[in-house]
Amino acid sequence: METLEQIKARLEKTLPLTKLDIVPNDCPAGERSLRAAAVSAFAVARFLRDDPQLKLDYCSNVTGIDWPQATVKTKVKKKVLVAGVEKEIEETIETLRSGHLEVVYHLYSMELKHGPVVLRMSTDNRADHTRLPSLTPLWRGAELQEREIFDLYGVIFEGHPDLRRLLMWDEFVGFPMRRDYVAPDDFEYEPTPHDKVLEAAKKHYPAEAPV
């Protein structure tokens, strides 16, 4: 299969208006992914599916990721002149990462037996701009997984044929897989509490210990 750079170059040639970037990965497997802007993600996905050299006809997995707003620390090596001698020092740069939700698609080709190509797209923020194009019209297998991401992360997939909650009930409010979700307080009876459970259960302890 082509490298991600080659795919990106061809995509930029075919769809000149798309904004694409390659997301690096520091983990041992080092699987990098292709991030597409939400507006053009559907066209990018259709290219990946229909291109005769790629033919990524199988979407094996759809995942949601919640990125809350945070300061990210990155270490950069820098050469500085200290008293006339050049020294290499490590500098920590703090950058503010805006909160957003991300959806990851793992694409394979059954016909050409290659893959995966990892396609990502992210929302503008976590509060009111959580819309992304649904890729269910391209890969039918994404339907339930997109419903699950809508259920647990709150990403609204535009163009999804049947966007309802999947695991939680319809009346449920909130998105439990988000990092800032607070679970209902039902810790009134905890025989062996510890750590966070202990903290939650303490609220239910009687003011005076029963005799």
């Binding site: 939680m168 009930w169 909130g174 439990p176 009134e188 009876y189």
Partner: protein, 203 residues
């Protein structure tokens, strides 16, 4: 009331004397029909218990009924999610009296490994009266058989009259349990206050 010694003496002569209560309980205890109802991995052990190797039929409980109208034992075998809990209560309400409930496995007893989850009911005893609880994750089929034998002992010891009489013979006790509704983040109500009385923990 007939004496035990006289009773066995008469039996040797071929005369059987019993009470209506004894006959009624004997009949019920030896034909406990469970509901075909599994929620998670405990149900696999429940199925194994009814198969040839463990042979639940030896205890008269082999007829798993696919309809709650024909069953008199509900084995809550597995994790009860909050989404499933109203349906479990509804099924229990649809079973005819006298009916019994076995909480099988740690999930059905207390939520088990999912106790701190946002989506799992912390024990079916919050909503329904539990007659026998089997710990284990999942319990072995022998444990389920033991639970059914324990339930049989419980049935045999039931008095049909007096203050300890079972629920269905007491007109003052309501026959149905309230089905909780789905709320914004939990069931409404999350527990049945008539049933669920956790011990006050001393810390």
């Amino acid at each position: 009331m007939i004496e035990e010694g006289l009773k066995s003496e008469l039996q040797k002569q071929g005369v059987y004397v019993t009470t209506l209560e004894g006959l009624y309980n004997w009949g019920r205890a030896n034909s406990v029909w469970p509901l075909t109802f599994g929620l998670a991995c405990c149900a696999i052990e429940m199925m194994a218990a009814s198969m040839a190797r463990f042979d639940l039929a030896r205890f008269g409980a082999e007829v798993f009924r696919p309809s709650p109208r024909q069953a008199d034992l509900m084995i809550v075998a597995g994790t009860v999610t909050k989404k499933m809990a109203p349906l479990v209560v509804r099924l229990y309400n649809q079973m005819p009296e006298p009916k019994y409930l076995i909480a099988m496995g740690s999930c059905a007893i207390s939520g088990g490994p999912f106790k701190q989850g946002y989506n799992v009911l912390k024990g079916i005893d919050r909503l329904l009266p539990v007659d026998v609880a089997i710990p284990g994750c999942p319990p072995r089929p022998e444990a389920l058989i033991h639970a059914i034998m324990t339930l049989q002992e419980k049935i045999l010891a039931q008095k049909l009259t007096g203050p300890d009489r079972p629920r269905h013979l007491d007109a003052a006790v309501p026959g149905e349990f309230p089905v909780p509704a789905y709320g914004a983040d939990d069931l409404e109500p999350p527990k049945n206050p008539e049933l669920f009385h956790p011990p006050l923990l001393k810390r």
